[in-house]
C-alpha cells in the first residue's frame, strides 16, 4: 500500500483526464470528465487515508529530490485542502454533466461545443490546484499558479461577449500577481540558492532581499486572492462566468493563492518580523469584511451578490495574519483559516451552483425576474438556507467553527477591534442571505405574471445539496479536521495547543 505514489496520482489523474477530454469527440467529453472526477476522488481518498493513519507523505517524482528536484509533501494541511478540492470538484463535475447536457436547438449546439473545452480546462485547473497544495518548491508553485490562472481565464471567457472583458481584466491582473510573486522567488533563490520551502524556512533571515521578497510576494498573492482594494477584477469575472466555473473560481481558485501566502508566512518567512505588513493586511481584511458585505447587499443580480460575498469572506481569510502584528504566527489562527477555507469552498460553490440552477429556471439571475412560490424551487431554497447558515458563521456549522477559532486567535492577540468587524460582517451576511431567500420564496411585484419554469435536473440539485450539507457538517466534524491538521511536519501547526471546544 505504501508503495503507491498517491501524491503524484492526485495531480496526474486529472491532468491526463483533461488531455483526453481535449482529444475525444465533444459528446464523449462529459463521460470522460465524470470518470476522471471519480478516479481523482478515489486517489484523493487514498492519500487522505494514508496521511490520517501514517502521518505526512513525501514523494520525489522521478527520483529527483530537493534541492534540484521537486518534492511533493502532503502534510495534514495539504491533505485537508486536496480533500476539500475533491468534494467541491466532484460536485462541480456532477453539476456540469446536466448543465452542459446535449441539446437540439442550434443556439444550444454552441453550448455543447463549449462543453469539450470546459471539461479539459476544468480538469487541468483541478490538477494544478492539487499541485499547489502539495508541492513544496517555490518555482513549481509559480508554474501551478500560472496553469490555474490561464485555464481559469479561458473558462471565464467561455460564455463570450459579456464575459470577454472580465476575462481580459482577470488575465492582466493575475499575470501581474504571478510576476510579483516570481520577483520574490528570484530574490530568495539569489540569496539562499534553494527553492524548497522547508530548506528556505531554516535559512531566511532579516536581510533586505528577504524583506523585499516578502512584500512583493504578499502583494502579488493578495492581488490574486482579491483582497480589498485589489478585488476590482473579481465580481465581474466570477459573476459572468458559467455557473460551474463561478463555483470553481470562488470556491477553490482564490484559495490556491491564499494557501501559498499562508505557507510563505508561516514557513519561509516564519522568522521574519512582519508586524507592519500584518497590520496593513489586518486593516484591509476588516475593510473587506464590511465593504464587501455592504456591496453584496446592494446588488440586483444574484450572482453579483454571491461574488461580492466572496470579496467579504476573503477578509476573514486575511484575519489569520492579524496575530503576526504582536507576535509570531498563531497556530489557532492558521487552524481557523484552514477550516474556513474548507467551509467557504463548499458553501460558496453550493451557492453558485444553486444560482446556476435558478438562472436556468428563470432565464436569468436578476432578482427582479425571480417569481417565486413554486414547488420546484424548494431544493435551491434549502441549499441557500444550509450554505447561508455556514457562510454567516452560525454555531455548529463549518463556518461557525472557523470564525470561532479566528476570533479566539485575535482576542488572545489583544485585537478586539478585529472581532467587532467580524461580528458586523456576520450581521451583514445574515441580511444578504435573507435577501436571497426572500427573492426565491416570494413573488416580486414586477414579475407578477406566472412564467413557465424550466426543469432543474436531479444532478444539479444533488451537487448543491452535497456541498451545502458538507459545509454545515464540517462544524460537528471540526475535531477530526484539527486532528488531521496535527499531522503536519515542520510547520507552525505542529505546535501542540489547539482550541478544541
Amino acid at each position: 500500500m505504501s508503495g503507491f505514489p498517491w501524491a503524484s496520482a492526485v495531480v496526474l489523474i486529472p491532468l491526463m483526464g483533461g488531455i483526453v477530454c481535449g482529444v475525444v469527440p465533444l459528446r464523449r467529453a462529459a463521460i470522460v470528465g465524470l470518470t476522471t472526477a471519480v478516479a481523482t476522488v478515489a486517489a484523493t481518498s487514498g492519500l487522505g487515508w494514508r496521511v490520517w493513519h501514517h502521518g505526512s507523505v513525501s514523494e520525489s517524482p522521478g527520483g529527483w529530490g530537493a534541492p534540484l528536484g521537486i518534492d511533493l509533501v502532503v502534510d495534514g494541511m495539504a491533505a485537508l485542502l486536496v480533500l476539500t478540492t475533491a468534494v467541491v470538484g466532484f460536485a462541480i463535475s456532477l453539476f456540469s454533466v446536466s448543465y452542459y447536457a446535449p441539446s437540439q436547438t442550434a443556439e444550444e449546439e454552441q453550448e455543447t461545443h463549449h462543453q469539450g473545452f470546459f471539461w479539459s480546462l476544468w480538469l487541468v485547473v483541478w490538477a494544478a490546484l492539487n499541485g499547489v497544495f502539495i508541492s513544496s518548491d517555490l518555482f513549481n508553485l509559480y508554474v501551478c499558479l500560472e496553469v490555474i490562472s490561464l485555464s481559469s481565464v479561458a473558462l471565464v471567457g467561455l460564455t463570450g461577449t459579456l464575459a470577454l472583458r472580465a476575462a481580459m481584466r482577470y488575465l492582466l491582473v493575475t499575470l501581474c500577481g504571478s510576476l510579483l510573486y516570481l520577483i520574490g522567488v528570484a530574490l530568495l533563490y539569489g540569496g539562499w540558492g534553494v527553492l524548497d520551502v522547508q530548506m528556505l524556512a531554516s535559512a531566511v533571515d532579516q536581510s533586505m532581499a528577504s524583506q523585499v521578497a516578502l512584500v512583493a510576494m504578499t502583494l502579488g498573492l493578495a492581488l490574486k486572492t482579491a483582497l480589498v482594494p485589489l478585488h476590482f477584477w473579481l465580481p465581474a469575472a466570477h459573476a459572468n462566468a458559467p455557473a460551474p466555473v463561478s463555483a470553481a473560481l470562488s470556491g477553490l481558485v482564490i484559495k490556491a493563492s491564499f494557501i501559498v501566502l499562508l505557507r510563505l508566512w508561516s514557513d519561509v518567512f516564519g522568522a521574519l518580523d512582519k508586524s507592519i505588513l500584518a497590520a496593513a493586511l489586518t486593516v484591509l481584511a476588516m475593510t473587506a469584511i464590511i465593504w464587501g458585505s455592504v456591496q453584496a447587499l446592494r446588488q440586483t443580480r444574484l450572482k453579483m451578490l454571491i461574488a461580492y460575498s466572496t470579496v467579504a469572506q476573503v477578509g476573514y481569510l486575511f484575519v489569520a495574519f492579524a496575530p503576526d502584528i504582536t507576535a509570531q504566527t498563531d497556530p489557532v489562527a492558521l487552524q481557523g483559516a484552514l477550516v474556513f477555507v474548507a467551509a467557504h469552498a463548499c458553501a460558496k460553490a453550493a451557492m453558485f451552483l444553486a444560482a446556476g440552477a435558478l438562472a436556468i429556471s428563470f432565464g436569468d439571475d436578476c432578482f427582479s425576474s425571480m417569481n417565486g412560490q413554486h414547488i420546484r424551487l424548494i431544493a435551491p431554497f434549502i441549499i441557500f438556507i444550509l450554505a447561508g447558515y455556514t457562510l454567516i458563521g452560525l454555531p455548529y456549522s463549518g463556518g461557525g467553527e472557523a470564525k470561532y477559532l479566528l476570533s479566539s486567535a485575535v482576542e488572545s492577540a489583544g485585537l478586539p477591534v478585529v472581532g467587532w468587524a467580524m461580528t458586523a460582517g456576520k450581521i451583514l451576511a445574515t441580511l444578504y442571505v435573507l435577501k436571497v431567500l426572500y427573492h426565491i420564496a416570494l413573488p416580486t411585484p414586477e414579475a407578477s405574471e406566472s412564467i413557465e419554469l424550466r426543469r432543474i435536473t436531479v444532478g444539479m440539485i444533488a451537487a448543491g445539496l452535497l456541498l451545502s450539507v458538507v459545509a454545515v457538517g464540517l462544524g460537528p466534524a471540526s475535531a477530526h479536521l484539527l486532528q488531521l491538521l496535527e499531522a503536519s511536519i515542520g510547520t507552525a501547526l505542529a505546535a501542540p495547543h489547539s482550541a478544541l471546544r
Binding site: V143, L150, V153, L164, A167, M168, L171, L179, L187, G190
Partner: protein, 101 residues
C-alpha cells in the same frame, strides 16, 4: 560599475516600466505588452542573480527563465485571442447600432 549592478538596474527599470504602463494605459494591447516587459524584467533579475560569483553561471535560474518564457508565450497568446474576440464583439455591436439608426 559592476556587471551585476547593470543587470540589477535594468531589471528594476523594466519591472517599474511594466507595472506603470499596465496601470496607466487603457489600450489592451499596450497593457499586454507591459505585462511582457514586466516579465522580461523578472527574467533579467533571475539571470543577474545566476551569475553572482566566479566560474560558470548557475544553470537552475536559466532553466527557470526558460520555463517562465514558455508561460509568458502562452499567456500572451491567450491575451491576444481575447483582445481579438473583444474587438470582433465591439464591431458587431457597432454594426447593430448603425442598422438601428
Amino acid at each position: 560599475m559592476s556587471t551585476d549592478l547593470i543587470y540589477a538596474t535594468t531589471a528594476v527599470v523594466l519591472i517599474g516600466l511594466g507595472l506603470y504602463t499596465v496601470l496607466i494605459r487603457r489600450h489592451l494591447v499596450r497593457k499586454l505588452m507591459a505585462v511582457n516587459i514586466l516579465g522580461s524584467g523578472v527574467f533579467v533579475l533571475f539571470i543577474a542573480l545566476a551569475s553572482s560569483g566566479e566560474g560558470d553561471a548557475d544553470p537552475v535560474p536559466q532553466a527557470m527563465v526558460l520555463t517562465g518564457i514558455v508561460v509568458a508565450v502562452s499567456a500572451t497568446a491567450l491575451g491576444l485571442v481575447l483582445i481579438r474576440r473583444i474587438d470582433e464583439a465591439d464591431l458587431k455591436n457597432a454594426e447593430l447600432a448603425g442598422e438601428e439608426r
